[in-house]
Amino acid sequence: MKAIVTVTLKHGVLDPQGKAIGHALHTLGFTEVGEVRVGKTIELELPAQDPAQAKATAEDMARKLLANTVIESFKVEIA
């Protein structure tokens, strides 16, 4: 089964990448775009198991390594 961890910068944390992309989109003529925020997804292949447990494991990985909770928050989906 698959766990997808999505990591995004916490609200209020500066997002230089999002800012630059927003700027580039404006230059390309997409002037209607407002704020842009960039995050990442980490897709994990896990052995078949109880989805709730898989989710708990993936959350554990996120807290320990995948996200830096000083600046980032995360959510986990099981697919």
């Binding site: 209020g12 500066l14 230089p16 990448q17 630059a20 390594l65 995948l66 830096n68 000083v70 600046i71």
Partner: protein, 220 residues
């Protein structure tokens, strides 16, 4: 002062650091592989050099912060030992929670490799005693993620407790909050900074502006 340089896979400025330390200390530091679980007996100063530990994948310093050697580094800090983290080393220290804040992608989203000017914010530390407070010196920088950030309360505390070590004195090229280039821990025994004083310790390489850092430590 007995120094140990930590070697994580992907680190690439350990040789530069050895040269700088050897020159000021008169002897070579010991290199410690990241899979070790203990520091060499009698280590006074732990150095985390620059580079791309684990390729800077995921987040700079994130994986190194979980290396087997890191519990020993934390214990060393708790005992009041000295730690210097430069560039990737600084990133590892923040990821490990040994210094506050985080180093985000440079505001320009480009790698920045050039000399910068740094202002010494305080000279009453083991790391900076050979400078005067307010002194300005040159240091090469070479990083893609040197944009220091922390929440406002943390930044206020750093300033209030006089824990900012260095600030960019010419141009704040990477976008760091309040121009911060380096910070101390509250006990002034842990220093992290982005630029590379170790690359300017020899007139042949363009100057000796970075040497006071190592001379200060050697004198401590």
């Amino acid at each position: 002062m007995k120094a140990a340089i930590l070697l994580f896979p992907g680190i690439n400025r350990e040789r530069d650091m050895v040269l700088a330390v050897r020159q000021s200390f008169g002897h070579a530091p010991q290199i410690v592989w990241h899979k070790e679980t203990a520091l060499p007996a009698g280590t006074d100063l732990v150095i985390l050099p620059g580079g791309f530990s684990f390729g800077d994948y995921l987040r700079c310093g994130a994986m190194a912060a979980h290396s087997p050697i890191m519990p020993a580094v934390k214990a060393h800090v708790e005992r009041g030992g000295y730690v210097l983290g430069v560039c990737n080393g600084f990133q590892i220290l923040t990821e490990a929670g040994l210094l506050p804040g985080a180093l985000l992608r440079n505001a320009s989203l480009r790698f920045l490799s050039m000399d910068t000017m740094l202002k010494v914010e305080r000279a009453d530390t083991v790391f900076t005693s050979k400078w005067q407070t307010g002194a300005i010196f040159r240091a090469p920088m070479a990083h893609g993620d040197g944009n220091y950030n922390a929440d406002e309360a943390t930044l206020d505390r750093l300033e209030g407790e006089n824990l900012v070590a260095f600030r960019y004195a010419d141009e704040n090229r990477n976008g760091s909050a309040r121009g911060i280039a380096g910070i101390f821990s509250p006990n002034l025994r842990v220093l992290g900074l982005m630029p590379h004083p170790e690359n300017l310790v020899d007139p042949l390489m363009g100057g000796t502006d970075g040497k006071p850092l190592f001379d200060s430590l050697a004198a401590a």
